[in-house]
């Protein structure tokens, strides 16, 4: 049972579109059973079991809660491993936009323009939402794993840009 796939663990069908409220609820319910706090006075064996299970459930929950990780996991279940860093060829247009964003972040950083960063962040959020929507269709409706894999890479790129914006925001706020 410890080896069961993440979706089955929470009683969900393997799909990109999931009922997140149900995921949250199942997560809390499972942790209520296995969490080490429930086994503080238990035997050494039970403590080990509890640690392994609570760890396993947290890992599964983290994966399913995050759309990017969920998509990547789903692809993996379908036999598509995504190799990050193995420089996947991205469309030139997409890469151009990346560069523009990065330049905009650097500019905003230098001119200490918080508002620009907040606006950029919002724009990025929109872009990511659209991509997630497309990902859902590719994975759940069309079963087109090759293009889903490309979208996952794109999403990862966008997350990195968002990380940069957040770092810049943090630095400016200090």
């Amino acid at each position: 049972m410890l080896q069961q796939n993440h979706f089955a663990l929470f009683g969900l069908k393997p799909a990109f579109e999931i009922d997140t409220a149900r995921l949250d609820q199942a997560y809390r319910k499972l942790q209520a059973e296995v969490h080490p706090d429930r086994y503080a006075t238990a035997t050494a064996q039970e403590k080990l079991q509890s640690l392994a299970w609570a760890t396993r459930i947290n890992e599964a929950y983290q994966t399913l809660k995050n759309p990017l990780l969920r998509a990547r996991y789903l692809l993996q279940l379908h036999g598509f491993e995504i190799h990050e860093g193995a420089n996947t060829a991205m469309p030139a247009e997409f890469l151009m936009q990346q560069m523009e964003w990065r330049e905009a972040i650097e500019d905003a950083r230098h001119t200490r323009n918080l508002n620009t960063l907040v606006a950029l962040n919002r724009e990025l959020e929109h872009e990511m939402e659209a991509l997630k929507h497309a990902l859902g269709t590719a994975l759940d409706v069309r079963g087109d794993y090759a293009s889903a894999a490309e979208m996952v890479c794109k999403l990862r790129f966008l997350e990195k840009v968002r990380d940069e914006i957040e770092l810049a925001l943090e630095d400016l706020e200090q």
Binding site: M1, Q4, N5, A8, F10, G11, L12, K13, P14, R22, Q25, A26, R28, K29, L30, Q31, A32, E33, V34, H35, P36, D37, A40, T41, A42, T43, A44, Q45, E46, Q49, S50, L51, W53, A54, T55, N58, E59, Y61, Q62, E166, L169, E170, E173, Q174
Partner: protein, 622 residues
Amino acid sequence: MALLQISEPGQSAAPHQHKLAIGIDLGTTHSLVATVRSGMSVVLNDEMGRALLPSVVRFCADGSVVVGHDAQAAQALDPQNTIVSVKRFMGRGLKDIADIAHLPYRFVDAPGMLQINTITGIKSPVEVSAEILKVLKRRAEKSLGGEITGAVITVPAYFDDAQRQATKDAARLAGLNVLRLLNEPTAAAIAYGLDNAAEGIYVVYDLGGGTFDVSILRLTRGVFEVLATSGDSALGGDDFDRRIYCWILEQAQLPPLSAEDNRLLLTKAREAKEWLSEHHEARITCVLSHGRVIDLTLTAATFNELTATLVAKTMTPVRKALRDARLDVTDIKGVVMVGGATRMPQIRHAVAEFFGSEPLTNLDPDKVVALGAAIQANILVGNKNDDELLLLDVVPLSLGLETMGGLIEKIIPRNSPIPIARAQDFTTFKDGQTAMSIHVVQGERELVSDCRSLARFELRGIPPMAAGAARVRVTFQVDADGLLSVSARELTSGVEAHVTVKPSYGLSEEQIADMLRASFAHADEDKQARALREAQVEANRLLETVAAALKADGDSLLSTEERARIEAAVSNLRQALTRDDANAIRREIAALNQATEAFAARRMDMSIRKALAGHKLEEIDS
């Protein structure tokens, strides 16, 4: 054998004895201890009716140690040997302490953690903290009339691994059985949430004497789930005192002062700060050692100006936590204020302005952390079979490894729920390389030099292979206390290495064990008697748990042979208990543990199935 107990009419023969469990808030300025008594969490006072124990420890020339109010009173007389705010030094080196020049102590630099040279010898912050904990432990034993089974000790949520380990060691050194390290804002949330039947997303803003924490929690029917946490483990009320102190130096044009005078002015500064929470101005008067008279008036407006940057500084972690949780101020149902420093009006204003609503200040900011810790301790020790309360906490700072060129590979990102484990594979970069050094770090920055170094260890004995052919899997496990252990294993050969990450502070494991033995309440009891008693307690606990498990699930989960095997191990252990031989008891404990291994796994599977079956399930295709 226990005698049969005959209960008074109307009194139930309690099958489980009520165990004594305490929660301790080990604070920078104040520490306190609480317990649950007839279902209510209460703070335990000292003989004079005082709840707060000043976290001040004085080492006297005659070898005695004074803790609390008396030590506090002596701080200006004997500043070198009177340690205040020792929490700031836990798990810290000399270079980490920003205001070292203003402190009166004779510091000793040591790898891992600084030490302090006192009149009775060199003390590590762990030992100093243990003195505070011992006093609280004694207070609890006296007031509860028995031996303490276990304690929950609170730590700032933003404490890193080194600071947590140091705290746990201090508790061990004080002779406490640590049930759990609990994050201070989470403890506060329990006390607040249970008191007010709160549901929704809450922020806990905890500004104490030396640390600042902010945690965002989702409260859902007794589940306290931390969504994000942030803070600054070197920001608190002390810093506000220092701003006033610097202002005094400047206004009075004072030359460099003696340690005694510095301490006196800092005390005056703190009094003025606290006074200003209720008044518009504070008069600061005192006479320094050379007869110099200080008489100044500090207005609230000036104080606000002096400390505006500190107030603003607390908002950075607030924003960061919100961003990490992907939440907006409008999602927040309430902000719970914790810590004595949140009494300052400028803090309350800043928080109200940021969140657009008045913060919640209807609980005692000094006591709420200890009260929450006591509730958790009571549950952990098994007094209350509370299925309604569950805490789900997170790692405050990312954990990673140093890779080539001083860069960091993050293994566990901050705000991951605990317990958690992550593995990452690495390879050798030279032909024939037989060892790999592993450097564990904690922090958010990309460069190793900007993060805290937690441990270094080596994996040796890798068989010589071509560069890039070995597969070294490094696994990080963070337990429910938020403590990290790391193991490394070369997959093709199976060579392994394992470390529990722990800062060094000048005491070896053996020295700790010796000190523990020396400090036992039963001083006449020798080592063997102690070992025997511990084994007996553990054996009885194990027998009790196994009996309960057999009764509940033995019939449904075990075959006749399996059950017989466990029962045989049970009776062997009972046999061993009749003889006073600690080693024999330990052996049978291990045997029984082993005999119940499969049973424990099945019981866990079953409870998980049951939890899932309670739901309306989507179809499961496995």
